[in-house]
Symmetry: C2
Subunit: 242 residues, 2 copies
């Protein structure tokens, strides 16, 4: 059973305004919810699930779990095909990352791209992503789903990039169309890799802060690469020798 | 102006059934339509555009161009934010690719992934993508948009993969979770790179045909990579020494 006020609350969390105000966000689907309970159960607020969902984690307070019908799940879901469970979480605080390697996103707009970059960061063991304030919200439901669980392990911080760069005192690498060939440069995961907006790239202000402009050589005719595939190739180059 | 029968025709092309039957498909948005006219004008069937769109190509038959209102564009568009122009194209025949390097997709389902992989292939100069019959249709409107123009340059062929592999007689590389470390293997763009379905990976039948199982080493905790970011990293490794 789910009350009308809770239906309204959950649906409001599709908007950034309410996620910020309430400090809550939503995780959906069998696999993602199991992962969320495994990694972040202490931040669980409410779990709604259908009868065919069984909780794998052992430390879940029963008062937080709610059995609902498929029809009720459909009412609160943001997915085209709702899948067994939906959980409301309190956002967790960041703990400090130890690896001296960060990804910085300067205005990435597409939720799928941010989610995919978080998943990449999780694969390569990057502890933290720094986002300019113009970057899409990492608790946006489409971002959460695209991370495939990386959101439970990767830190994302929204900052003034210029000020943060100054404070960190690390070498700054920027993905630009006219930079040094990444295949002939010796890269290792120490520094900050900046990726820019889908259409406009890295902003002028941030471009002036880049120590090492780097590029992926082009062998064919495409004008550019998608920011998440470019990020994949660059991360692979930073980590391949490590 | 646009007739009701043409509105109906264009909207029907959102479905594979009608794209196949009529041998037509749709390209949308200012930039994509300009690219389509530049690369494939000989296959243009009809161009619909608003008054603020100016045709850059010089060889466009005026009888094929139709000035329409924003409201009419909205009626025929498949985009959330229609953008100045929509073109109906005849599908063009494949010409034979010369590079002895192919990407083979075994059941990729997500239109964004196929479009992104086509864009990647275009960046690296891969001439042809072989798709299993279960792979999403490359003329699907979401695929066309995600290619960012690569669809006008990259060949995609839907085939029986097993039979085609046999006929091509090239070394077959497969992206698997337990293969040889790509960073220690000497790769060059001669052969076929197989990428699998988003959830299930490469099918059992195709796995038996792989000569060289290869993997991207994992440094962090993510369970897997998205197929298009994995493809990006692998293509980069194949081409980085060439």
């Amino acid at each position: 059973m789910i009350s009308n006020s809770n239906i309204k609350l959950i649906k409001s969390l599709q908007q950034k305004k309410f996620r910020d105000e309430l400090n809550l966000f939503v995780v959906e689907g069998e696999k993602m919810v199991q992962e969320s309970l495994h990694w972040k159960s202490e931040y669980l607020v409410d779990l709604y699930h259908t009868i065919d969902f069984s909780i794998n984690a052992s430390n879940i307070d029963e008062r937080k779990t709610n059995l609902i019908s498929e029809k009720e799940l459909k009412q609160i879901s943001n997915l085209q095909t709702p899948n067994k469970a939906l959980a409301v979480f309190r956002k967790w605080p960041n703990t400090s990352g130890k690896l001296p390697f960060y990804i910085a996103l300067d205005g990435v707009q597409d939720p799928g791209n941010l989610g995919t970059i978080m998943r990449l960061a999780d694969w390569f063991g990057v502890a933290k992503i720094l986002c300019s304030k113009e970057t899409v919200d990492c608790f946006n439901p489409k971002v959460v789903q695209a991370t495939m669980g990386a959101i439970f392990r990767i830190e994302v911080e929204y900052v003034n990039l210029a000020e943060t760069f100054e404070a960190l005192e690390l070498p700054i690498f920027g993905a630009l169309l006219e930079g040094e060939n990444i295949y002939s440069k010796s890269l290792n995961p120490n520094g900050i890799l900046v990726l820019g907006n889908e259409g406009k790239g890295i902003s002028e202000k941030i471009q002036t802060l880049i120590d090492f402009p780097i590029s992926i050589p082009r062998f064919g005719e495409a004008e550019s690469l998608n920011v998440s595939t470019a990020g994949a190739i660059l991360l692979s180059e930073f980590f391949r020798k490590s």
